[in-house]
């Protein structure tokens, strides 16, 4: 792994909301091609950690770099275009059609022409079986459909890394499978990802590394095999006992 390029590096990241300290010094490196699953009890700071990376939350202190460039308020827009994000609540743009959701950013940011973007969007929509929804507004889609559109919307920008923030937590059990399948495909295509999830089986399946966060700190990390079968800390043993 270390011979791979460093995509994201996080140094002593701290984040507090007023007096509530959510992240208490996180050091972390993400290398090209890695599939990192972030686990932890609720309220442990997993989502905040992810959201600090693309600065949806402004870190209180610490440093985050993307491909050796320190992310700052100055370059954040450029960085976000390379860091895709998939949200728990999908966040498709309500006033835009599915097609417009996919093409807005790549066209606005001059990644491709309107024609190219539409062609690419059609390919992706066809691939996920939602081409018939191209002209529909998000309100008419089911949760699972929305999330799959949200994933291909992120792919439209051809990001270097994709962050998934509990992508299946707001879905009904039936559509979880479809979404996980799509994430699996994205992973198989070689995308570097970080995913916060509560789907343990899925985590075991796709992770190249598991990171366990509690109390705003990384408590333990390792390969899924080691993490799930031979946890090193009492805290993780306790957690796994509850969730498995």
């Amino acid at each position: 792994m270390p011979e791979h390029k460093n995509v994201i590096s996080v140094r002593s990241l701290k984040k507090a909301f007023d007096s509530n300290k959510v992240l208490n010094g996180i050091d972390f490196d993400l290398f090209e091609g890695e599939k990192v699953v972030v686990l932890g009890p609720s309220g442990s700071g997993k989502s905040t950690f992810l959201r600090c990376i693309n600065r949806l939350e402004e870190p209180t202190s610490g440093e985050i770099s993307f491909e050796d460039t320190v992310i700052s308020d100055k370059n954040i827009q450029e960085m976000r275009a390379k860091i895709g994000m998939v949200f728990q609540h999908f966040n498709l743009i309500n006033n835009l059609t599915v097609m417009e959701n996919l093409t807005l950013a790549p066209v606005k940011l001059h990644r491709m022409s309107a024609d190219e973007a539409e062609k690419k969007a059609r390919e992706l929509l066809r691939h996920i079986g939602l081409i018939s929804k191209a002209g529909a507004y998000p309100a008419s889609l089911s949760g699972g459909q929305k999330q799959r559109v949200a994933i291909v919307r992120a792919l439209m920008m051809e990001p270097k890394v994709l962050l998934f923030d509990e992508p299946t937590s707001a879905l009904d059990p039936e559509s979880i499978g479809d979404v996980l399948e799509l994430i699996h495909e994205v992973v198989d295509d070689g995308m570097t990802i970080m995913i916060v999830t509560h789907e343990m089986d899925f985590a075991k399946e796709i992770a190249s590394r598991v990171v366990f966060i509690d109390g705003g700190k990384i408590i333990e990390e390792g390969t899924p095999a080691a993490f799930f079968s031979h946890p090193k800390t009492e805290r993780v043993r306790e957690f796994l006992k509850k969730v498995l």
Partner: protein, 231 residues
């Protein structure tokens, strides 16, 4: 009753009366139209300042707060007097401009509150999705937040337009010849010597405009709701 209808016929067939009425009506519409337009734009700016995240906005935000508080806390008629007899107490300064500004400044405060509420009603996830894609805050506002905010506030904005139209009637207090004043003038002793009919007709004029605007707003709202499941 017969007398009433005779008077109505008289009002509509006497060129002098009907001219006065239309003249007044035109002034009412002119003041309301420009006041709403300027008021909305000013209100939008105030709302942007108030909802803006930047630290640099802090002093501006304070000024906006004070402005909105003063405007909303004092009578419109008093604001009109202040504009006429204090701020624009300049000889030969066009009265209509003073009146438009008075109503625009007033409406801006109300519009800003409406627009601010509309902006805040848009789910934060919408903004986050736009930002996460690398779009600029300006693009996010223009393409995502504003269209959704407007949709939510169309009914309130419609109300504000209607309020302004009717409130312009107080310009008669500073001697301007609007629809309200025209009705009073036509009904006075020197003219018809009956207030009932001209005031009844003036009321119909106001009502017709308000009804028309309500109708247009309903259509606009329906059009904008096409992206909703509720449509």
């Amino acid at each position: 009753m017969e007398n009433f209808f005779d008077k109505i016929v008289e009002l509509f067939t006497t060129p002098e009366y009907i001219d006065s009425l239309l003249h007044g009506f035109l002034l009412t519409i002119e003041i309301a139209f420009f006041a709403v337009l300027i008021g909305f734009l000013l209100g939008l700016i105030i709302a942007l300042v108030e909802t803006g995240k930047s630290k640099w906005f802090a002093p501006l935000r304070f000024i906006c707060r004070v402005y909105v508080t003063i405007i909303r806390g004092t009578p419109m008629a008093l604001q009109l007097f202040i504009m006429f007899f204090v701020i624009f107490a300049i000889r030969d300064f066009p009265q209509i401009v003073t009146a438009i500004l008075a109503f625009a400044f007033n409406s801006a405060a109300y519009c800003s509150e409406i627009i601010r509420g509309g902006i805040l009603s848009v789910d934060a996830g919408q903004t986050e999705a736009g930002l996460a894609l690398g779009l600029s805050p300006l693009t996010v506002f223009h393409k995502i937040v504003f269209p959704q905010a407007i949709k939510n506030i169309i009914p309130s904005l419609g109300n504000e337009v209607i309020t302004v139209i009717k409130e312009t009637a107080i310009v008669s207090m500073v001697g301007m010849y609007d629809l309200n004043m025209a009705a009073k003038d036509i009904g006075s002793g020197q003219n018809m010597a009956s207030y009932v009919v001209p005031m009844f007709v003036a009321a119909l004029f106001y009502l017709a405009v308000v009804y028309l605007i309500t109708f247009v707003i309903k259509r606009v709202e329906k059009h904008m709701r096409r992206s909703d499941a509720r449509a």
